[in-house]
Symmetry: D2
């Protein structure tokens, strides 16, 4: 049994100004656990600063979760003997992301996020999958019994890459997008039933793939919310405004009109932000033009915004590393609770991304799906989630299977297979010639982070 | 949504002196629920008495769960519009069970229970499966949305019969045998870790078929109990005495030596009473003779004991119906908690019997398996339990598949198929000629409760 | 065993001027079989005429297969005791098909055939599925052991409808589209290897769904044709002209450019006519406008052409019924050979449409797929065809799963489900509002043949 | 494409006096193929002699298949660049087999063959599986595109070992046991229908595992043989005498009474020799004592007989190597025909052993099963064989799953797992203590050929 007061957490991407900050905040507030957090980042300066911030935190009197933070020189030092591994990296820089998101625009392809699916998600995966595949092999070597929690996008493909690199890995992907939909359902419960419900009161069955997840059953204290959601949509033809939004959701709030339209199409609830959902359907539905996006009241997050936002985050990081005081906050994330459950301190059910081994019917085995799972002592067991209606499954498996090809291509460095999958994306609706020109351009733009670009380059001739 | 203060429970076998009594006791102590319980039994006098007892209970001041009990004339009255259906019947009488259990003895076949598998379980299933199949059709007609909880043995085959009769049924089977093994594990935690644990502290992964269920992962507050169980066995070569045993376990206590021997054979924990476990393995292992049974320190429950026990139960029932006061007790059963969860009042995980839809790998889909499941608002979702080691699965699927043939035979009235399955049972190790003679005798003995006996009789000529 | 000289064939749609004619021609040339053909058609006059033609044939001296043809008054007479049932009907008339094919044009949706998928295939299925479902129930009653051969489109959905109506049915669907691709491969063998090959020399592995079938392995006398096909495409940038085309392929020849483009996209061979293939991919690829169709050198078959063609066929039928002599021809169809195999007279492998029971991986079980199968005495056993590359499977399962919803909707009369599937079709790329208007119009146009239109109409209000 | 006149066949176990002789004989009579056969054997003298015999054959004028035979010094030379690999070895010597077969007798366990299942088959597998696993890795290195044909027992476990060592291997196992049952069915056709049929006329559907294979459908020229087989059994209560038996079947002829008894038990046809079949059922059925064996009219082949037989075979080999002339014979084996099919020269259907990928329902995927398969150009595709009746599947999966554990144990050198599987065998019906004593003794006896015996030995302390 792990010693809950002497744990080792390895944080890959430990210079992060988002997830690392959240984790430190959550750990500081949890009295049951203690130990060391090893931060590793290719930007050593950033992980140094996070270590400083973490240790300053630990020194504070109001902090009940005492952790030592160590900035590492290499991944071996970070991983060796870890009880938990957190994966939170940026594959490449925002310059690469700029290409991912904006290069396709000249072909009329708009992307609201560009990190999960679509042309941007595909090329991002080509960069990130080999990295995760490599980390899986290191985890097999240095800490095969560790639980590995991934926060990086493209979530599903990267969890899959971990399992390809080390089939015995104990890994899952964690995503809060579903929580937002639970919050909308809490509003439904309030408006339709007069129940003031928290997210925890909203019981849902989740199934699908990350960012294209669906809810086919929802209740609040025994009341079926599915038909009420339909009524709620009718009552709000202009959409509903958010309560504040999540820190990671970026530039634009949405009014949930994509989500509502999908309910009208399919009768089940799409459970992710509209900016993600729009990218999984045929491009002509919600992303045909900036005007269409405006009409559907969501937003296209420009990478320029991310760059500005990053500058501000860096400043915050610097200030805090220099001792600027700050308040705790409720992050709304569940990783610390998950760790406690895996250590045997409690048990609960939440949604995770794991390879399908029966939890989702009519989806090929092995594909990483998002469903509820039971978290208990050293175990995460998916709950049988049933099957999506065939019309919805039709769309979900379309993308899920395309992603399998991207993963294979990224691991084997197979240019043609990567291109086949790229051209087959619902949002890449181009002639073969245009698709190839765009693909080549996007690979060229991001070649610094494509380990097999040379090979690509050769095959392109 | 169901009105939790105005529920209708249909109790088939409502004259029962075991499960009905428990349910009344548990309902009386639960303040969250109220409504009416409709009792139906072919022995109307018995259900009348239970109704009296129930209503006397409700009149008591110390009772917080107020229910009206109604003894019905027919199953339609009982089932119509029910929110829950409880199935707890005796298929035939103890005279039939006497044949089930003791007729095979003249061929050297001994049975410790005789209600689940082996020659007795097979013939009992031939009587009970058609009854359950018929009730499923009535449930489809009168209360298709009800949750149906089965307590009757042979558990797995009868749950399967419900799904064959009405594939859309919301049914599961409930069995407390696993609880007993959790209690042994609590002793392990005490002895090996010094932890005073309750059954709820013992977290297990359950998989297999009813009464031949296995635990491949067990922990207590984060401590892995699997290796400790092995040590515990070594420390107790003479077995361990029970804490008192369960009301339904009948005539003999056991010292767990069958369970321990199976752990030594397979390295995983068999999770049912020894009297049941012994019947699933080849007869020569633990049931070759009364001496062997004595050596393994379990017991052969004679039906004469059941008859005496019944006489006493009837007396108790009479006395209580006539107003004799009695104490509440903790039944240890979970049905009321399950109902609360299904009504959306709480949620939890427990073991149930349901058709395999992916929760147990390497077991054909559709076969009724026992695993953990999540109970929530109007849903019971099995948890992915993984797979048994192949050596164990080899034995479990052997019996599970044989049971499928018995179910088919019972529904279609196929004498030859029933006989094939009978002769193929691990505990029926006879020449074809002897097997047929025994089978014919057992069918003849129980013909009053075999709806298709006539047909059988004809085909036998 | 069936008496091969005294067979009964039931022909549903026996007034047919296409398949019936072919069958009579093939039967006339086959000396091994004899018996009676019962023709049933809602157009009794047409089946009378076919009976006349058939019997005139039998009377001819050069005819070696002697059959008596009987025009029936009802389906019971036709089916009772049949050894084989042929299903070849037109669901509705060409007036309904006119709506199927041309009504969507006002929304910019073009269809090259309109009988298998797309908006036309969907609405045609809504008419035809209930008919086939009904026939399956009659077959269960009147000739449960008959082998049922379907020629009617939408092939996959109608074979599925037969299995839904009578799960024990021995049915398969027969389609010659794959043969055409084998003929192209024979040209490849000629041009690249100098081998003069017949279709029979071209060995292929087939998998997918009807009219969206794929070849992932092709050889001729041990030579791998897959890479040679790629070279052949490069050698023929303008496409290749057909050898004459198949009698049923209708108005326009194609130059295979859609097929070639799909090979460039996916590296495997699409094995159906271009007019069918184009309808399974996103509408913007090959069907965005008549100009795009012209560029890809296939054709949009107008229903007016079918009507003219029918008038000519009726005239031919009339003339022949009146004794006009005619020549035999090689139909290229395989049904008579299939019957011989099922009767135990030979065995062979060919492609058929049957529910997936393992022959195609990564496709949900039960969905009707097209693969090779072994034909032997009273058996058709699919051959394990493996799996499509994920990118291709992504597209195939998209449509296959949508079709499942259409079948469910057609059988249950579920308007909303039918609409969901309609709106989800790759070639129906409309806003929800436009999709609904078009759907309603197409249902209204064809209401005479929609048994549940009333119900539809009501729910539309 | 392979050059059919310049092939390379690698023969592992090339000193063999059985299969090698057959193959030379069959190759000599086949004019379509030519090339070189590389023989490798740990007994170099034996392969030298076989090479001499082969080359003498090639020099003969009446030989139409001209092959050069080369005796190799190592497996690399043998395998490098091979088109086909034949696996035919003896794992250990007949001394080891003597222990396999006879050591268990002191515990009352009798074995009729002892090379496939039972205690002997288990220990033989522990010797042979690591060898095959190793060859698979060499094949991956030296000839990854070769087709690998295995003739060695335990057939199913060794084919599985090949796939574990190199998952991309193109391997199958070849067994003629089913042919013998076809010959019995030919007698049935003669006696019951008056049809003089050859084995090729007997069409069967085969499913199960090697040597415990079943036929659930059999016909001859369209006549169903299944019910006739039942009548035939009734007509021959004393069994039927063989026509001469197969060269490899060894010491005793059988009268098929085990096969007949199994038909009476299950209604489907067991399709292997009685000596094999008896070993798969509980030991008490047919192998409880030599008297029982005599009663069932099959035989226990003593290893002493095999040793004498070997001496005679060696003499024949010596004489032929020295130029003694001999006649060709019909071997009845299919390997040459299989090679021709794989080279694209013909295609046909026959039974093979391959991992289950859907061809056999209700059997875990990956387990090596025996079913029919289609042999074509560079492909062996199993035919969907359906499922066994549950009662039979119950017995077959029992052994099949136990074998999976043996394979795992043999590859990983896991003593305890090997023992668990050993003790779980239907024919090892011993107390744990006796089972362990016997297991230890058998391992000790054969330690020279158990690569991981040291490790075993240590864990035994």
């Amino acid at each position: 049994m792990n010693d809950v007061k002497n744990l080792k957490i390895a944080f890959i991407g430990g210079g992060s100004r988002g997830w690392a900050r959240n984790l430190m905040c959550d750990l500081a507030q949890e009295p049951a656990l203690a130990g060391k957090v090893y931060l590793y980042d290719i930007d050593k300066d950033a992980s140094d600063k996070n270590a400083k911030i973490g240790n300053l935190l630990t020194a504070r009197e109001d902090v009940v979760g005492k952790w030592e933070y160590i900035s590492c020189d290499n991944s071996k030092e970070c991983l060796e003997g870890a009880d938990f591994v957190i994966m939170s990296i940026l594959p490449g820089t925002f310059d690469e992301m700029e290409s991912d998101v904006h290069a396709p625009e000249k072909y009329g392809i708009y992307q609201s996020v560009g990190d999960t699916t679509g042309p941007g998600g595909c090329v991002r995966a080509l960069r990130a999958v080999p990295i995760f595949y490599g980390y899986a092999k290191e985890i097999e070597k240095y800490c095969p019994n560790a639980w590995v929690i991934n926060f990086t996008n493209p979530m599903a493909m990267l969890v899959a890459a971990l399992y390809r690199g080390f089939p015995g890995i104990k890994a899952f992907g964690c995503c809060h997008e579903v929580f937002g939909t639970q919050e909308i359902l809490a509003k439904v419960a309030d408006e339709k039933l007069g129940i003031k419900a928290t997210r925890d009161d909203i019981k849902i069955n989740v199934l699908g793939i990350n960012h294209f997840t669906w809810i086919d059953k929802a209740s609040c204290k025994g009341h079926d919310l599915m038909p009420l959601y339909g009524e709620y949509i009718k009552d709000h033809p202009e959409g509903v405004s958010p309560d504040g939004g999540h820190w990671a959701n970026g530039a634009f709030d949405t009014l949930e009109l994509v989500k509502f339209d999908l309910y009208e199409r399919y009768g089940v609830i799409a459970a992710a932000g509209d900016r993600h959902l729009a990218e999984f359907t045929p491009g002509s539905w919600y992303l045909s033009s900036p005007d269409r996006v405006a009409e559907m009241k969501f937003g296209l997050t420009p990478v320029s915004w991310r760059k500005e936002d990053l500058a501000w985050r860096i400043e915050v990081q610097n200030n805090r590393a220099n001792g600027e005081p700050f308040e705790f906050y409720k992050t709304g994330e569940e990783s610390v609770r998950q760790m406690k459950a895996l250590l045997g301190l409690e048990s609960f059910i939440t949604n995770v991304n794991m390879p399908n081994r029966g939890q989702m019917e009519n989806m090929p085995l092995g594909i990483v799906v998002e469903t509820n799972a039971f978290f208990g002592s050293d175990e995460v067991r998916p709950v049988c989630a049933g099957k999506l209606p065939f019309v919805v499954n039709s769309m979900v498996t379309r993308v899920a299977q395309n992603q399998e090809a991207i993963i294979d291509a990224a691991i084997s460095g197979d240019y043609e297979l990567a291109f086949q999958a790229f051209a087959n994306d619902p949002n890449v609706n181009l002639s073969l010639k245009d698709a190839r020109a765009l693909f080549n351009e996007m690979l060229y733009n991001t070649r610094k982070y494509l380990p097999f670009y040379e090979q690509y380059a050769k095959t392109q001739k």
